[in-house]
Structure formats: structure tokens, C-alpha cells
Subunit: 346 residues, 2 copies
DNA sequence: CGCCGTCGTGTGAACGTACACATGGACCCT
DNA sequence: AGGGTCCATGTGTACGTTCACACGACGGCG
């Protein structure tokens, strides 16, 4: 007979027990990998599970253990696309390996929508939280919301605000920005502009800080960064504005999409990259190697971040304590969008 | 006193009942929006809920109703990035509005990983399934897996295989491909090559069929499409190969990433776009408007697809029946990567 | 004036599992 | 031989909610 036959009800632990000729508790033990069980009995139970098509009821399990085995993921839609997508996928795989699942909630940027996202997460009884796209306002909302969970944030500056309960883990944005800037300086650029992301966005801010630090370290003039969204559209508009000023020989963009917009604007206005101006991006999305020209950028290992963040958070659930800040070094990918400045700028 | 104070246990329905001076069943009725309840009592219960910080236990609810209120989403990592990301976000919002949540599982392309993904979905007791990235092998695996759920697939050709239980809903890929091809033909191109996606990928296949149909409709010579991954890397390699052949004046790429790779290859080999060759993409990802040159492409309303698919699937859960195939028309975005063919090709 | 229907509310059971504890047998040590 | 220990397995109960049903009060109607 087919496994799913019989009455409409799904088989439960007692059906399996009856089939195997043991008590339901024995089945439960097999399910939970208890040691104290005779291999022969275990085998019989396993066969009964197979035969009946039994599948443990997560709801019942969650109810009695008061453990949801769910990790909440808070992501912002804003910064959609490659990075978060890759991280979340890696997180999902890592979570599944440890018997956890993910509750992914994407939120807008307004305070109200963040609160609402936290609400949804709480109603799913998540045991821990990973904040993928850390904005300052997200943390403010979390502080306010009196929810007390192990929290991993994918940035490198918040962790000291909630000692013991918060763990930061991330690619070192600050260092990445310094690498990008240093690369331009080593090529001979002395007038470098930064097109930055929104400043309430922690990563964007760190990239800017890294940029500014490296500039002052080398006694170079600091010009105010241009602030905007992390999109190609904004990069394009910023590029047009920059062309009018013409007071720079290199631009460091806060991400690759912005850099693409800059490339577009510069081409439209007759500026050659890297002949007239050099451009560096951040992220190394798969398309970046095919931009015209192929983009010099800072590569982040998104998958590693996703994987590790889940490991950390599961560790925190089990042990109750979180470690310190960890950082992954990014890599500079030098391609064709950077070159020494034109003679006029040396 | 703070809402979360007291013993370690979270407040339950009985605590609320005691606080409001009613029975637990009355609280349950308020929670479920029952009609038969005096407004005054309801008010009192609501206040007690507020005061105690009560939050209904989803696990208990799921256990007794045997309803998980979870919609499974099966996505493939392969085709990561913009489209799926946008759809899933829209789905999540739409689901939350109706009190559902999403269980997103991303799978690789091997049969084993698809089976494993379905397994994970089943263990989460999803009530319905939306297949975001439909591959032929996914449906084969679903057929084999004896799981019987309302199923919405985001493509337009599978739906008649499981009448009544499956609903297809999608942007009309076939029509989109015809629009793109027709655009090239109207510009005067007579030798058009298609760089196609993997053929076990239903959408990619439909795009190819649309392309082929439009060609034969216009009595144009059909050259074998180049098959490969939907990535810029592959587009680049295909582009290099195409340049060697030089037997075309236009290329229709199966997605924007591929088109970007083509642009890169053509530039590397000294071919001007659209001067020497025209290029059309598919998807209209946000970057496409900033490619060099800005890409003519077919826009899909991903958010609408995501939203509607959840509506359909929830309707199916409630009523038990699914409607017929629905299609959304895409839009052709004409930008600068297409122009009439050079004189030699007319 | 008694009956019935309706409204608002309460009581008992059930969902499927894991935990705490109980049981019975085999074995070892003294 | 007796007691203690460990092993393998079984029994009772609790988790928090909803469903089916029961119940009292009230009003309308014959």
C-alpha cells in the first residue's frame, strides 16, 4: 500500500510506534538521536517511519519545547540584489544543516516599517536575529522594542553598544575603503572624490570613514563626499554633476551600481575612463568585470559572511553567549577602470 | 509594571482571560475576530492583551488547526539577483497582509538538491507552493514527490499538466521575446542571433520559442541559438565566439546580464553597438539603463508577478481551486543599443 | 405563560510531541 | 544471596490553542 494511504490524518508518532511494536516514547528517542537505545529497536523504528511516511510535526515540537528553531533575518529591500541575496542563500544553507530555518523579512527604510518588520519577526518566535542590512535606525528600533535576542549584525561598529548580546561580523568595510583609496593614491591621484551611500547606512558610513582616513593619512585635500542612494541612477546623476566641477582625477564609488552610473555619465560627457578619470567601485558584483571598462573594485565574500553569521548565531542560541567582533578582509580587484592620472593632474 | 515582567513564561491566553475576567475561550474569539461578542467585552480583552504583552503562540495554533499559514517558495540560486529578489519581496509583503508567512528555499540545479529542497519545504508543512524559477527538472521532482499542494508556477507552459492543482502565472516570456525580435526586424535586421539561456529553464525556452516564431513569421533565416548560462561571463564568451563568425547584424540575449557580456566582448573586438551590431536584452534590471550603450530590453513587472502569485495561492488554499493561466504583458524599453543595421547588411 | 431561537459566554477535549519519572531486567560487586 | 547500578523501554503530563458542544439569559411569539 502507498505510504500516504489510509485516513486523512497524517501519521503521528503513535502510529509509528504501533507499527514498530514499541511505545511512542521510543520513537521519540529515535527521532532525537538518543544514545540509550538498542540498535535493533532503532532499526525497527526507522523502518516503521519509512513505511508510514511519518514526518515529525514541527508545530507540536515547537509547542512543547518552546523552541521555534527559526532564525530571523532582517534585510532591507533598499539595498536589494546581489550581496544580500547571496548572503541570505548561504545563511539558509548553513541554517538547514543545523536543523534551523530562516524567517526572512525585508523592510523599508522608514521607522514604521522597521517596527512592523520586527513585529512580524517576533510573531514568528525567532530565536535569534541577523540584521543583514544594518541601518542606524534599525538598531534604534531594536533598542526600543524590548526584544531580547542573540543578535548578529553584519557590520563592524555597533557591537559595543550591547555587550554580550550583540555580535558583529562582517567584511571590513573600513579596510576595504582604505584599500580602494590607497590604490588610487599609489597610482598618483591626489584629487579623489567619494560618492557615498546614505549615511544612516552603517556600511556606507564606514566606507566613507575609511576613505577619509586614508586621505588624511596621505595629507591629501579632502573634498566633501557626494551622498546619495546606492543605485546606478544616482551614480549617473552624481557623475553629471561631477563633470561640471571637473576638480578631481579619480572617483571612489560606494558600490558597483553607483560606479556604473558614473561610467555612464562620464562617457556621455566625453570623459574617458581611465584616461581622464579613474573609477573604483565596491562589492565586485558579477557584472562588474564586464562593465566598460571592467571595473576595479573591492570584493566581498558575501557567502562566507552569510555562512559564518549563522554559525555564530546558532552558537549563541546554544551557549547563550556571543563572541567578539570578527572581520573578514576584502580583496581589491584591479581591472581596467583605474590608471595613473593624466599629466595635468600630477 | 513593564509588560514583560513576572515569571519566565510568556503570557498565554488564560493569563489574558484572568486579567480581563472572562474565559479563555472568549479571548480566543477576540483573537479570531468572532462576530458574537459584546463590544464592551471585546474592549476589555483587548486591553488585557495590551497590558500583558500577550502574543498568540503560532505553534500551538498550528498544532490544533493543522494549518501552518506558510507558503513555500522554491527558488533557484542559479538565476539569483534582481528578478527573483524583487518577486520574493513582493510575495512576502502580500503574504504578510493576509497573515501568511513565507518559507523560502533556494535550491541548486541538480535533481538531488531539488529533492532536498522539497523535503525541507515539506518539513515546514507549507500549505502551498510557488515555484519562482521554474525548471523542467523541478516539476519532474514535484511529480515524483507525491506532494499534493496548490501550486503556482511563474511560467506559462506547465499549467496544463496538472489540471486543477496547478496555476501558472507569469509575465509572457514568449510575447516578450517576440516583441524584442520584432523590434529588430522592424529596424531592418535580417540576420539575428539569439543567445539563449539553459533549455531546461522554462522561461529561457519560451524566450527562444518566441524568437524562433517571429523569425519564421517573417521568413528570416534561422540560425541555431547559442545556449549557455544567464550570466555576463557567458555572454562575454559567446560574444567573442560570435565576433569570429560575424554572420549577423543583431543579437537578442536571453537576459540583461548576458547582454552586458556581449557588449563587453563587442567593444573588446572593436565592434560598435549599435553601429555595427544591435543588442537587445531581457528583464530591464535597474542597471540596464546605464550600460554602455544603454540597453534596449524587455521590462518585466516582477513585483506585480510576486504579489499576484501570492494572491492566487492564498485563494487556492481557501477555496481549494485554482484558476486558469494568467499572463502579464511585458514592455519593450527602447534605448540606445539598437539601430538599423549597417548598409552592408541591408 | 411556556416554548423556542438567538446571543454571549463557558467547559471539555484534542492536536503531536518531549520531558520527568517509573519500571523491569541484566549485571556486578561484596 | 542480596543490594546497587546501569540500560532499555514504558507511562503520565504539559505545552497553548481551537473546536464542538453546553449553558443561562433574554426576547418574541403563539
Amino acid at each position: 500500500m502507498p505510504p500516504e494511504a489510509g485516513k486523512g490524518r497524517a501519521p503521528n508518532i503513535r502510529d509509528v510506534a504501533a507499527l514498530a511494536g514499541v511505545s511512542y516514547q521510543t520513537v521519540s528517542r529515535v527521532l532525537n538521536g538518543s544514545e540509550k537505545i538498542r540498535p535493533e529497536t532503532k532499526q525497527r523504528v526507522l523502518e516503521a517511519i519509512e513505511e508510514s511516511g511519518f514526518r515529525p510535526n514541527q508545530a507540536a515540537r515547537a509547542l512543547v519545547t518552546s523552541r521555534s528553531r527559526t532564525i530571523g533575518v532582517l534585510s532591507t529591500h533598499q539595498h536589494a540584489h546581489f550581496g544580500p541575496q547571496t548572503m541570505v542563500h548561504a545563511m539558509e544553507v548553513a541554517a538547514a544543516e543545523s536543523g534551523y530555518r530562516l524567517a526572512v523579512v525585508t523592510t523599508g527604510t522608514t521607522a514604521a516599517s522597521i517596527v512592523e518588520a520586527l513585529e512580524r519577526l517576533q510573531s514568528q518566535a525567532v530565536e535569534a536575529l541577523v540584521v543583514v542590512a544594518p541601518k542606524v535606525s534599525v538598531f534604534e528600533a531594536i533598542e526600543d522594542s524590548s526584544l531580547d535576542l542573540p543578535l548578529v549584525t553584519l557590520d563592524s561598529s555597533i557591537h559595543n553598544k550591547r555587550p554580550g548580546r550583540t555580535h558583529s561580523f562582517a567584511v571590513d568595510q573600513y579596510e576595504g575603503a582604505r584599500m580602494a583609496t590607497r590604490h588610487l593614491i599609489e597610482l598618483g591621484h591626489r584629487s579623489i572624490i567619494h560618492v557615498a551611500g546614505p549615511q544612516d547606512w552603517i556600511e556606507a558610513d564606514e566606507r566613507m570613514q575609511g576613505f577619509l582616513y586614508e586621505l588624511s593619512e596621505n595629507d591629501l585635500p579632502v573634498r566633501a563626499p557626494i551622498l546619495g542612494e546606492l543605485s546606478a541612477d544616482f551614480g549617473y546623476r552624481a557623475g553629471l554633476e561631477l563633470v561640471r566641477r571637473r576638480d578631481f582625477s579619480a572617483v571612489f564609488a560606494a558600490n558597483d551600481h553607483m560606479a556604473l552610473g558614473l561610467l555612464h555619465a562620464f562617457r556621455d560627457e566625453g570623459l574617458s575612463v581611465p584616461g581622464d578619470v579613474s573609477v573604483v567601485g565596491f562589492d565586485d558584483i558579477p557584472d562588474a568585470a564586464h562593465y566598460l571598462p571592467p571595473l576595479t573594485t573591492v570584493r566581498q565574500d558575501f557567502a562566507a559572511v552569510g555562512r559564518r553569521s549563522v554559525e555564530i548565531v546558532i552558537g549563541a542560541i546554544d551557549t547563550g553567549s556571543l563572541g567578539a567582533l570578527e572581520l573578514i578582509r576584502p580583496t581589491l580587484m584591479v581591472r581596467e577602470s583605474t590608471a595613473p592620472p593624466p599629466v595635468a593632474w600630477r
